[in-house]
């Protein structure tokens, strides 16, 4: 069983509101990923970190999305001004190496 902990499981926001979700990666895993999974099960990579530093991110993340992975604190993903199109399952994953990702259960965001 994965030990990647994501909170909250469900998040409901109005349009324009901030939405923040957290992730505690598996202990000892230096790499953390955030993915957005839409209702068609399609994955969109958002950002990843290695030892608190950003490795890769997409343009969308740079505009309304912000993320951080401070040492000794949960990682977080925040949407500054939620839009209906942001409704999705946000998955956090951590990794010790390139050989495998360990996923959390996700945060299901609904933007009304």
């Amino acid at each position: 069983n994965s030990k990647v902990i994501q909170t909250p499981r469900y998040l409901v926001k109005g349009q324009g509101q901030k939405a923040k979700m957290r992730c505690i990666p598996e202990k000892g895993h230096p790499v953390v990923f955030w993915y957005q999974q839409n209702k068609n099960n399609e994955f969109k990579f958002l950002i990843n970190f290695q030892n608190q530093e950003v490795l890769q991110q997409i343009d969308m993340t740079e505009k309304r999305f912000s993320a951080e992975c401070p040492s000794n604190s949960p990682c977080s993903l925040e949407i500054q001004s939620s839009e209906a199109g942001d409704s999705a399952l946000y998955l956090c994953a951590s990794s010790l190496s390139v050989e495998r990702l360990f996923f959390g259960h996700g945060t299901k965001l609904s933007v009304l």
Partner: protein, 113 residues
């Protein structure tokens, strides 16, 4: 850049029947290939992975996959499915030694009695 195609959005099989879920990838370099499964309201779990060596890899719960380089395929197979195998299955590819993973759109498997 890598890409993954899972041509079957939905597959329905009878319990006890054999299964093949198709996956084709596009990547010019050395791929790392994965199959993950997602059960309802859960995150993804790794079924199996391939980096090199024997092109047929064994995974958990009786699943296996075969890497066919000439066909750029990594199809998932199981000899006899169980109702508990009903889930969404994702094929993924990453560049060797790179943390950039690309996932397919998934195949929803339904196992019927």
């Amino acid at each position: 850049a890598q890409s993954v195609t899972q041509p079957d959005a939905r597959v329905t099989v009878s319990e006890g029947a054999s299964l093949q879920l198709r996956c084709k990838y596009s990547y010019s370099g050395t791929p790392y290939l994965f199959w993950y499964v997602q059960y309802p309201r859960q995150g993804l779990q790794l079924l199996l992975k391939y980096y090199s060596g024997d092109p047929v890899v064994q995974g958990v719960n009786g699943f296996e996959a075969e890497f066919i380089k000439s066909n750029s395929s990594f199809h998932l197979r199981k000899a006899s499915v169980h109702w508990s195998d009903s889930a969404v299955y994702f094929c993924a590819v990453s560049a060797a030694g790179n943390y950039k993973y690309v996932f397919g759109a998934g195949t929803r498997l339904k196992v019927i009695a």
